[in-house]
């Protein structure tokens, strides 16, 4: 494998149709056991994809229940305790079992080694172990539900959490264990990017997705131990009564918040940086244009990863931390806005004099720009000290982080799902259905969460089971809550439509051409669809950048049809 190399820009491997019947990574081994013991990064990516899709479904149904309860003031479908458990579980499932592992575990695993021309990740066994560790963590979370559920909110603030039932300990154990899966994945990616790049794959030629995953991996490895330590301290306090956070034992509850956000703020970047990586790929491919400001985008990921460690205190402006700390944290928070802005401006510029192709993945990329920009500007709003005092712990915050986490991360993940679906499954999805679902999600999302900005800035606190008593002085809360709930139904309709046509595609979809989008990164130009078990027939020799679309004729051959230039359904 290592001895023979193939120049990427010269011999157009893409022009050769894959011999039919050649085993790919899905077919060369069969049976459940082959999946459970696989060390193939692509199969591990699929294992994660199936697990995380399940958790996303669970978390999503919980979200619908939360919104349904808020449709009317007073009790709608459940009591206060059930409601508190539902919103807590929604957040724990979405944050720890879906968003944090999310894009690195699915697309990082599937795409990153191919992007750099490697046969696999550096430590394939560690990679498989990470999935088992993650599933153990998830099992622990389910255990927590079985022994009674938790109602602490996903932030586990003390002393409420340390006075609660033992179910809290199951949840914190789950977070602790799932954290190790993230550390394993992070170490794997760092080593892989450093040591496994194909000949000619210099740092300047890395796809921006790889840069984003690399920056994320650094955060995963450095930040995750802190949440582990915090959860251990919570345990010690509960079992041996060492006073750390609980004032009744001489501890300090604000200390817990420092520990918690020291991890959980960088975790925001674990969630959003990989999403930004996907957006860079989509903007380049579907504009057929070099991604503008390549170096700026690549280095801004690293800058965000670094600065992300220094801003945790902006969650605590009204917590009782010293005003001096708040002032410093506010200042540092604004610094993060700058590399983020650079990315957004460069993505838009990428379309300039391009050939903009509005296929479903690109619709998600543009939707990301729309929603994430709103999330970013409202982030500036809540980073301003005196304005945050008013907005803190209201629905404005809820709306802000949903615009970033769902409008950002989930939308990018859906873009990536549609983009790499043909590569992973060998099937095309239904393009018109994809566009309808994207439109439903866009309308539903904005109706659900934009109303929450107004609710919040007008004073509606978050985590409220009932708002009947507030309506005397804030009658507008009723209509806004109801609009938000209706929005959640439209959003859910779009998401279920995706589930439906993706399953349809899996069984009845048209076979995918080798390079339906005309992309020029290695997974499209140098592997079969779906890829073979070892990705490449020969180690590619990289002679060009990841977005050199002007060299596409060299890559595909001048008389290309279907592949790389068709309407996405053409046969290559």
């Amino acid at each position: 494998m290592e001895s023979a190399t193939q120049p990427a820009g010269v011999a157009p491997q893409a022009a050769e149709a894959p011999p039919s019947g050649t085993p790919n990574y899905l077919t060369h081994e069969r049976g459940l056991w082959s999946w459970l013991t696989t060390r193939d990064h692509k199969r591990i990516g699929i294992l994660y994809a199936c697990s995380l899709a399940t958790f996303f479904l669970v978390g999503g149904v919980l979200a619908l229940l939360v919104r349904l309860e808020l449709l009317t003031p007073g009790e709608t479908i459940m009591g206060a305790d059930a409601y508190n458990q539902t919103f807590t579980l929604h957040a724990i499932v979405m944050v720890f079992l879906f968003l944090i592992p999310g894009i690195p575990a699915i697309f990082g695993n599937f795409v990153l080694p191919i992007h750099i021309g490697a046969v696999d990740v550096a430590f394939p066994r560690l990679n498989l172990a990470s999935w088992y560790v993650f599933m153990t963590g998830a099992a622990c979370a389910i255990g927590g539900i079985l022994v009674g559920g938790v109602d602490t909110g996903w932030t586990f603030y003390t002393p409420y959490s340390s006075q609660g039932t033992n179910a809290v300990l199951f949840m914190t154990t789950a977070v602790f264990i799932a954290g190790f899966a993230g550390i394993f994945t992070g170490i794997n990616f760092i080593v892989t990017v450093h040591k496994m790049r194909a000949p000619g794959m210099t740092w300047n030629r890395l796809p921006l997705f790889v840069w984003a995953i690399y920056a994320t991996a650094i955060v995963q490895v450095l930040a995750t131990p802190v949440i582990g330590i915090t959860m251990v301290l919570l345990f010690l306090e509960k079992f041996i009564q060492i006073g750390i956070f609980d004032p009744a034992l001489g501890g300090d509850p604000v200390l817990f918040q420092h520990f918690f956000w020291f991890y959980s703020h960088p975790a925001v970047y674990i969630m959003i940086l990989p999403a930004m990586g996907i957006i860079s790929e989509l903007m380049g491919t579907f504009s057929r244009q070099k991604v503008a400001g390549y170096t700026f985008i690549a280095l801004s990921s690293v800058a965000i990863a670094f600065l992300g460690f220094l801003v945790w205190g902006h969650h605590m402006f009204v917590s009782g931390q010293s005003p001096l700390s708040s002032i410093i944290f506010s200042m540092l928070t604004f610094l993060i806005g700058i590399p983020t802005g650079i990315k957004v401006f460069n993505w838009v510029t990428t379309m300039y004099r391009g050939s903009v192709w509005l296929q479903t993945p690109m619709l998600y990329a543009l939707m990301f720009l729309f929603l994430f920009t709103i999330g970013g500007f409202t982030g500036i709003m809540v980073g301003v000290l005196s304005v945050d005092v008013h907005l803190h712990d209201t629905y404005f915050i809820v709306a802000h982080f949903h615009y970033v986490m769902m409008g950002g991360t989930v939308i990018a993940l859906l873009g990536g799902l549609h983009y790499w679906w043909p590569k992973a499954t060998g099937k095309m999805y239904n393009e018109p259905a994809g566009k309808v679902a994207a439109a439903l999600i866009f309308v539903g999302f904005n109706l659900t969460f934009f109303t929450q900005f107004i609710l919040g800035s007008r004073g509606m606190p978050r985590r409220y089971y009932d708002y009947a008593d507030l309506l005397d002085r804030h009658p507008e809360f009723l209509g806004l809550h109801q609009a938000s709930t209706v929005g959640s139904w439209i959003l859910a309709l779009g998401l279920f439509l995706i589930l439906f046509y993706m399953l349809w595609s899996l069984f009845k979809g048209k076979p995918a051409p080798k390079n339906p989008w005309g992309a020029v990164t290695l997974e499209w130009t140098h592997t079969t669809t779906p890829p073979g078990p070892h990705n490449f027939d020969r180690t590619p020799l990289v002679t060009r950048g990841p977005y050199d679309f002007h060299l596409a004729d060299d890559v595909f051959g001048p008389l290309h049809t279907g592949d790389g230039a068709g309407d996405g359904t053409a046969q290559g």
């Binding site: 206060a80 305790d81 508190n84 602490t152 909110g153 002393p159 409420y160 501890g251 604000v254 504009s287 057929r288 244009q289 503008a292 400001g293 009204v318 009782g320 005003p323 002032i327 604004f334 700058i338 802005g341 650079i342 401006f345 460069n346 838009v348 510029t349 379309m351 004099r353 391009g354 050939s355 903009v356 729309f370 920009t373 709103i374 500007f377 500036i380 709003m381 301003v384 000290l385 005196s386 304005v387 008013h390 712990d393 107004i454 800035s457 007008r458 004073g459 606190p461 009932d466 708002y467 008593d469 507030l470 005397d472 002085r473 804030h474 005309g518 679309f549 002007h550 230039a565 309407d567």
Partner: protein, 312 residues
């Protein structure tokens, strides 16, 4: 009633509100303009450079260092402006004027208790208009947070220390205090009213609000039931809240978590106030001990409460 104000903010009612609102709207409009710029450009490019043929081969665009630099410099200047502005108003929010009228606030699951310098206790926050008021706040159990949207002030209340918040109300009206730090089952019912009055009305209210000398024990118990926030958990009409209702309680047979039973007589009521963990009624959580009523009530007050509960 407060349904005035703007789309985004309820009408302000404190001296700091104007400044916070101005900053909110400054960021808002700068954001709206930049958002329209970014998304408008995106929309224009979508149309102007739409794909015309699968053979499109756009020429790569050269990086323009000046443009990239302007994307760094202009946002930096803008965020420095909003940081400085936010910093200045935050200092005002953080430092109470030295002549502030001080009120002690005790937050507990799930009620507010306000205590005035002359000993009056209330579960409504009465404040004089146009006078700085500083709240010195503490919590008996978990984290809570004091929030009045119209005042644009908020601060967490932490069990092991005092925190404070101050405001100067600018108009006579009634507003809602909300707890904005999640605190359990009845978090969304942890509300109180702020009643802003003229100094004269406020003084009159203070004088009338003490417990009258000639009140009967049961009458005093009724006032204490409000003031000490018993009503946060114990209803009088039989509604099950976080704790058993007082309605018809006296003289009935109580069943406890450990399966034992006892009759609710005077000694049982007294014990339940002073050592509430000793007997926990079946189906209810053991949450009252954290409030430390044994330290907060005098023996006369306990007698009054027992007398009051007997009458329910």
């Amino acid at each position: 009633m407060d349904d005035n104000g703007t789309l985004w903010l309820p009408e302000g009612a404190s001296t700091i509100a104007g400044e916070v609102d101005a900053l909110f709207y400054f960021i808002y409009w700068v954001s709206v303009i930049m958002f329209i710029g970014v998304i408008g450009t995106m929309g224009y490019f979508m149309v102007a450079y739409r794909r015309r043929s699968e053979a499109d081969r756009p020429t790569p665009i050269k990086e323009n260092k000046l443009v990239e630099a302007s994307w760094i410099v202009i946002p930096t200047i803008l965020v420095l402006i909003v940081f400085t502005w936010g910093f200045k108003s935050f200092i005002k929010l953080s430092v109470a004027p030295p002549n502030s009228y001080e009120i002690t606030v005790r937050a507990q699951k799930w009620a507010w208790v306000f205590e005035y310098p002359d000993g009056v206790i209330s579960n409504e926050l009465h404040v004089p208009v146009s006078r700085p008021v500083k709240l010195r706040m503490s919590s008996g159990d978990v984290l809570h947070s004091f929030f009045v949207p119209e005042f644009r002030v908020k601060h967490d209340i932490v069990p092991n220390r005092y925190t404070s918040v101050w405001f100067e109300a600018t108009r006579q009206d009634t507003f809602q205090v909300m707890c904005t730090e999640y605190c359990g089952t009845r978090h969304s019912y942890m509300l109180a009213l702020v009643i802003v009055q003229s100094q004269d009305e406020f003084n009159r209210w203070l004088q009338e609000s003490g417990i009258p000398e000639d009140a009967s024990p049961a009458e005093r118990g009724a006032l204490l039931y409000q003031q000490q926030a018993c009503n946060g958990c114990h209803s009088l009409d039989g509604t099950a809240m976080a704790a058993p209702s007082f309605q018809g309680l006296f003289g009935t047979e109580r069943t406890f978590e450990d399966g034992t039973t006892a009759t609710a007589d005077e000694n049982y009521l007294r014990e339940s106030i002073l050592q509430s963990s000793a007997k926990i009624v079946e189906g209810y959580p053991d949450i009252m001990a954290a409030q430390r009523y044994e330290d907060r009530l005098t023996s006369e007050e306990i007698d009054a409460l027992v007398a009051f509960i007997k009458e329910q």
